[in-house]
Symmetry: C2
């Protein structure tokens, strides 16, 4: 049996928001492998971060970020379930990270569902045009792949998190949800770039 360190338990607790003993049990069962432990906990129905994403959010905070001497500005509302969590360091740091992410990447929308239908139709048309002449099932496959890439570039929650590109922004948020034990959602954001139309 692998030796489980306190650091490993802490890492798993941060990722899942679950209790110390539960996390240790999972690590023991998975020979100290963090990712396998997360899956093991999920299999047992203990992925609390996933469950919490349905809960009501009406507290939170509005954050802002001014970039490049005022050439770019971002305003973002992040909601939580309680004011207590909204004032926590984890939440406030997430809020700052999200504002910075929007400043740096200028996403079109929060999630794929929120992208304007006309923009989506135009993208799809362009992709179809790019692969014309190929069999229909291949075309559909390629178009879906290109749309997925488009979402990853244009939707905040799908984007790679600028401070750690191995994680998506959505995963970054889920990490905080797991840690603080409350649902957290990005309600809206606005980005001004100096002189744009």
């Amino acid at each position: 049996m692998a030796q489980i360190t306190a650091a490993q338990v802490k890492e798993l607790r941060d990722k899942t928001g679950l209790g110390m003993m539960t996390c240790k049990e999972a690590l023991v069962a998975c020979d100290g492998d963090i990712e396998k432990s997360v899956d093991w906990l999920r299999t047992k129905g203990l992925d609390t971060a996933g469950k919490r994403t349905g809960r009501a959010t009406k507290e939170g905070a509005v954050g802002s970020y001014i970039h490049m001497n005022g050439r770019i500005g971002v305003l973002l509302e992040l909601n939580s379930e309680t004011d207590f969590v909204a004032r926590s360091e984890d939440f406030q740091q997430l809020l700052g990270d999200l504002c910075m992410q929007v400043a740096a990447t200028a996403p079109l929308a929060i999630s794929p569902e929120a992208i304007d239908k006309d923009i989506l139709a135009r993208e799809r048309e362009i992709y179809v045009g790019q692969v014309s002449g190929k069999p229909e099932n291949i075309v559909e496959q390629i178009v879906e792949g290109k749309l997925k890439k488009f979402y990853k570039e244009q939707c905040l929650l799908e984007q790679p998190f600028v401070k750690d590109p191995n994680t998506s922004v959505g995963e970054r948020i889920k990490g905080v949800i797991a840690k603080v034990g409350e649902n957290i959602i990005v309600r809206r954001f606005t980005r001004f770039q100096l002189g744009e139309d």
Copy 2:
């Protein structure tokens, strides 16, 4: 002939943005009266602040203001003619004042022209309903008065400036235009209040 002090010349220069000798000449002609001097300069076509309001603005800065622990947030783009002015203390202070003003007063629009036509029609209808039964010319007069009050409450440039309610926000901006010698315009703003629809 009245004795003209350096303080008087400075005050007139701050107000008009004109040169020292021009301001002294105006003060001499008007016995040191500042307001009369402004009129005297205007008569001579030297009201530069007024003239500058037509010039092109594509530089500037985006500013933000977070109020009440993140329950209210404001993002505002203020444009100037040059980056030099945008970085000046006068401009930056104006930007901060405007963000704070929007946070405190939640204006509907920048100016009366920018108010949604439907909102305006509804207001007008309410006012007409409030004074029904009176002669038509009286009704129109009262309605116009109420609309003026509505603009003063709901339009950023018409509002009394929170930090000095004897001045309107528009006058506050004109004061900076006169001082820095460049046109300055409020391009757009957004205000988020936590949990609002």
